[in-house]
Amino acid sequence: MAQRQGGEPPTAAPITRPPLLKIYGLQALILVLVATSLLLVDLVTAKSALIGGLISVLPNAYFARLAFRHRGARAASAVAQSFYRGEAGKFVMTAVLFALVFSSVKPLQVEAVFLAFVAMTLTNTVFAWQLSNQRVTGTR
């Protein structure tokens, strides 16, 4: 507040939010397409792959939503706090979802669940890398 009285702050460039809805929507679309194509193999495999992918996508989307709730250098401590909360929530969500799936969904193909989970985690990393590169080019 004290800086605002003296005029515009030196970093007055607009800080845009990353397109999180687009990223996680695209991930969900990829997952649905893969699960639909797996329907040709087996219904249980397709269902298991869909569940495994969702176990990865849902907690990651929650984490990303919290991680980008605050922006800018002035909110750096709030950003760090949001990251911590998001990570804790993601960890708990993943554990609870795995527990729910393994205890209540039958029949289930465990290999398909884990393969889809790992594939969606890798996809999330690729999207995060692209997002990070966009941020770099956007700030320069």
Binding site: P10, T11, I15, P18, I55, S56, N60, F63, A64, A67, F68, R71, G72, A73, R74, A76, S77, V79, A80, F83, Y84, E87, K90, F91, T94, A95, F98, A99, F102, S103, V110, V113, F114, F117, V118, T121, L122, N124, T125, A128, W129, L131, S132, Q134, R135, V136, G138, T139
Partner: protein, 79 residues
């Protein structure tokens, strides 16, 4: 059954501890970097998001394997 419970505890607990240490370092570096160069804060946030995804990928798989052991391989343990 007891050994499986210890294995699951170690799998999830050590994974969570490693992630916690990594996130602590990551958050500290974000605060430090934002304080030194405030104009780089949005870029640092994007980089932190990327590294956070890499940091907790393997512990999350560990959580999944732990739940698999707990609820599928040794189902009597969870009841």
């Amino acid at each position: 059954m007891g050994l499986a419970l210890i294995a699951v505890s170690l799998l999830i607990g050590l994974g969570a501890a490693g992630t916690a240490v990594g996130f602590g370092l990551l958050g500290g570096k974000l605060l430090e970097g934002s304080a030194r160069q405030p104009e780089m804060a949005p870029m640092l946030q994007g980089k932190m998001f990327l590294i956070a995804g890499l940091l907790d990928a393997v512990p999350m798989i560990g959580v999944g394997i732990g739940m698999y052991v707990l609820f599928v391989l040794v189902p009597g343990m969870a009841a």
